[in-house]
């Protein structure tokens, strides 16, 4: 191949695959979302925006949005906050901190489906370690806490099978799994901050830890934070494994854990209602793309002054 045309061979395969695997499916999803298509049927009827109308009016889908946003708005702040907190503490310890770094990163490496099954066992109302540990605290000062006393008097929550607790329990597992990833990204950000900046800040009178954090660390971690927040949003929007493992049918007690990816799976794959599944897909893609575009805007703006 001559070097004049070499680029065609280099770009070609990637370009073709990008179009077939990433772009065409989006077009197909958009098209199908306007129909009542089912796999195996001959053709499909055009139904206009009916699928979207359903998504934004039916109570099932209201529950879907509530569950998804609850999960996302618990998991994103907590994974980012804990990730940053852990990174700062570990960074302050120097080399001894490496052990913690390793431990906190373990959940990121472990298959979530496996760990979800273990957590399900830990949260088991009768034989799980969580409730049996809580029961051991009964009769102690902890009973001063109203919630605890109630648990001792009757029973502690059913966690994953309680409508009031299920989504928060799932969110907890999400936080447990995700914050180590953010911690590593923040640690990378922290090590790239030049030590002279701290010296300079100290000479300018920033002697307290908080001042140094506010004046040096936090601004310089800006780009890291933008990236970490976005990737946390995208990851948590895609929560599925745990929900399917805990609630193979129906999305949890009273559909309280009926997150979007599970809805797509249930409608499209389990019930073969491709039209409505495709419509949820399009709405989902909309969310994710808007978030990423906001992130890019922020990065561009920040780079001007950092």
């Amino acid at each position: 191949m001559g070097s004049q045309r070499a680029h065609l061979w280099f770009i070609g395969p990637a370009l073709i695959l990008m179009v077939i695997i990433l772009l065409i499916p989006i077009v197909i999803a958009m098209g199908l979302s306007l129909t009542d298509y089912s796999l195996g049927n001959q053709g499909a009827a055009f139904v206009g925006l009916e699928n979207y109308e359903r998504i934004f009016t039916r109570s099932t889908y209201e529950k879907m949005f509530v569950a998804t946003f609850r999960y996302v708005f618990v998991v994103v702040p907590l994974t980012v906050g804990l990730g940053l907190g852990a990174a700062l503490l570990i960074h302050s310890l120097g080399r001894i901190g490496d052990l913690y770094k390793t431990i906190y990163f373990l959940p990121v490496m472990a298959a979530l489906i496996a760990m979800a099954i273990v957590w399900e066992f830990a949260f088991h109302p009768t034989i799980g370690v969580i409730n049996s540990t809580l029961e051991r605290g009964c009769g102690s000062f902890l009973e001063a806490w109203h919630w605890y006393a109630k648990g001792c008097a009757r029973t502690f929550p059913l966690w994953l099978n309680d409508r009031e607790y299920a989504i928060w329990t799932v969110s907890f597992i999400g936080v447990w799994q995700g914050f180590g990833f953010n911690m590593v990204l923040y640690l990378a950000g922290l090590t790239s901050i030049p030590a002279q900046l701290y010296d300079a800040a100290e000479m300018d009178g920033a002697t307290r830890g908080w001042d140094r954090f506010r004046l040096v660390t936090w601004p310089l971690l800006g780009p890291t934070t933008v990236f970490v927040v976005t990737i946390s949003f995208i990851r948590s929007f895609q929560v599925f494994d745990m929900v399917e493992a805990f609630y193979p049918q129906g999305g949890g007690p009273s559909k309280s854990v009926y997150v979007m990816m599970f809805a797509i799976y249930e409608k499209g794959i389990q019930q073969n209602l491709m039209g409505i599944g495709a419509a949820i897909t399009v709405v989902f893609l909309g969310f994710v793309m808007v978030l990423t575009l906001i992130q890019r805007r922020l990065v561009e703006r920040r780079t001007h002054y950092v």
């Binding site: 990433l22 796999l39 302050s92 959940p107 897909t281």
Partner: protein
């Protein structure tokens, strides 16, 4: 008085520092919560069913042989059916389902995905970073746009396409959607930008083809970045549950480890917690071991990705 002595004793080796102690205390509490499910998983995989149900036996269980009721049901004498919990749990994990086959499938799928991703992404990244041609900006813009698309989100149309081609329940279905990694292209392009042009010009002077330059000049310089990407890719696809769940329906020969574990859970009654946890341990261990061995590389890799 004691304070003075403390300061005079070898203060350089160990000085009690309230702040560091507090830091350690917080981090240790965190570590305990992080490790709790790992502890539970390993512990349950070692214990007998009645110990699991009654929460006795501590971490290891008593390791007393117990009666395997299923074995008794098959008409064997009770004495022949006494089994050691660890052996029972781990052998059941392998016998009840073709776990070895699942593990092999996992290796086949993750390795194929990574190899194809590299063969597709590397030349593209090189062209985007180092070659000048008409439309380069447009292609790069497309890459940036595609970075917005999570492949899981477009699972339904991909599934329909594969179903129309009759490819569901094949290895191809597990691999095809992941053959293109725009993140890989982006990452490698950023890395190649830092490779000096002189190196490439020198290679061209020596009469190397563009293709040779990619594999014999660029690839060796990119090993750290490639390792970082490889770790990302392999971790993601070994652990992936969503996509196999969609395209593999019922054909156990094609199950990946997560699907195998999920199937186990589906028909687990109380007696099966031990073997199920043994399966979970077996599935989780390979990546954890790799991570522990190549930890520094991993962290370095993420720093490299230029996402700071």
């Amino acid at each position: 008085m004691s304070d003075v002595i403390q300061q005079d004793t070898p203060a350089t080796t160990f000085r009690f520092n309230t702040r560091a102690a507090l830091t350690h205390a917080v981090l240790i509490v965190g570590a305990l919560i992080v490790l709790l499910p790992f502890y539970t998983m390993i512990s349950l995989s070692l214990k007998a069913p009645h110990e699991i149900m009654q929460q006795t036996g501590g971490f290891m269980g008593s390791q007393q042989p117990f009666r395997d009721d299923f074995c008794v049901k098959l008409g064997n004498a009770v004495e022949d059916c006494l089994v050691n919990p660890i052996i029972y749990n781990y052998t059941t994990a392998f016998e009840k389902a073709p776990l070895l086959r699942y593990l092999l499938n996992g290796v086949i799928v993750t390795v194929s995905i990574f190899v194809i991703q590299v063969f597709v992404a590397l030349p593209c990244a090189y062209a985007l970073a180092k070659l000048r041609f008409w439309g380069r900006e447009a292609v790069f813009a497309l890459v940036l746009f595609c970075l917005l698309i999570p492949v899981h989100a477009i699972a339904l149309p991909l599934y329909i396409m594969l179903a129309k081609l009759g490819l569901t329940n094949t290895y191809a279905a597990l691999v095809i959607p992941w053959t293109i990694s725009v993140f890989g292209i982006f990452l490698m392009r950023q890395f190649f930008m830092t490779v000096p042009d002189d190196l490439i010009d020198a290679a061209r002077m020596d009469g190397m083809t563009e293709y040779g330059i990619i594999w014999r000049v660029m690839l060796p310089t990119a090993i750290p970045a490639l390792m970082a990407f490889g770790i990302f890719s392999i971790v993601a696809h070994w652990n992936d549950y969503f996509w196999p769940r969609i395209v593999i329906t019922g054909n156990r020969d094609l199950f990946t480890p997560p699907l195998g574990l999920r199937e186990f859970k589906g028909d687990a009654d109380g007696d099966n917690f031990g073997p199920m946890m043994a399966t979970a341990c077996i599935i989780v261990t390979p990546l954890i071991v790799c991570f522990l061995l190549a930890q520094r590389r991993f962290i370095e890799g993420i720093t490299l990705s230029g996402m700071k």
